[in-house]
Amino acid sequence: MIEVGTVLEEKVFYLDRALLKQYADASGDQNPIHQNEEFAVSVGLPNVIAHGMLTMALVGKYVSDFAGGSAHVLEYSARFTKPVIVPAGEKVDLTVSATVAEVTDGKISMNLSATSAGVKVLGMAKAVVRK
């Protein structure tokens, strides 16, 4: 039973440098801060960081799965609060969960939580799906 306050099952995605390269190619965003450690450090970042939109795409998969497919996702928004840091040779987690915020006749609204290494990486993340 989905009602206001229902907490949806947590899912963990894993990111590594290969996935960042794959997303760069799929999205067309080849910014070197997502691939080149030397460059990332030179512009003041701690290491290579994931594209915010990659994080959002993975959380979007969580939303699509809950909704029963991408066709049922009506609205989706997020603020990029902290980067997902992806050191060479490591797989880092993206841990996603959600709480149902509103249920109407045709729609379910949810507040999404996304953390990596225990740090909240998306703020004000919300989705509305078709019921």
């Binding site: 996935l19 799929a26 965003d29 915010g52 939109m53 959002m56 699509s64 991408s70 996702v73």
Partner: protein, 129 residues
């Protein structure tokens, strides 16, 4: 610096874009989506960010794309995107402000399939001081 006179203006994208199945497949593969008949909800960023870059860096608008970070993002999807869809993109600069030397620009893109509005997407872009 962005030309403040451009706030409120809408700019048409360069041309109509036809979505290919291989583009959708590649995006689905990244997130582990096995149903490739519908594009994932954030797929259109592939189109809109490219269009924003082309529009916002025009000399008369003047945004510095090299120091850009993405602040937030919102999608409203009225009609899911599929392979073969022919999309046109229009971008509207909705707001602009400078805070602590950072330029903060909010841009909306409307993607139409023919006369039908398929996706509206809002991006807040921050040019770091």
């Amino acid at each position: 610096m962005l030309n403040p006179d451009s706030v409120g203006s809408t700019f048409a994208g360069t041309e109509s874009i036809t979505v290919s199945q291989s583009e959708i497949d590649a995006f689905c593969a990244v997130v582990g989506e096995t149903d490739t008949t519908i594009a994932p909800p954030t797929f259109t960023i592939r189109i809109t960010l490219t269009q924003f870059e082309e529009i916002l860096t025009r000399p008369e608008i003047g945004l510095d794309w090299s120091r850009l970070v993405h602040g937030d993002q919102k999608f409203e999807i009225f009609s899911p995107i599929k392979a073969g869809d022919q999309l046109t993109c229009a971008a509207t600069i909705e707001s602009y402000r400078v805070a602590a030397g950072n330029e903060i620009v909010s841009v909306r893109s409307d993607l139409h399939k023919g006369s039908e509005l398929a996706v509206s997407a809002w991006s807040t872009l921050v040019v770091r001081a």
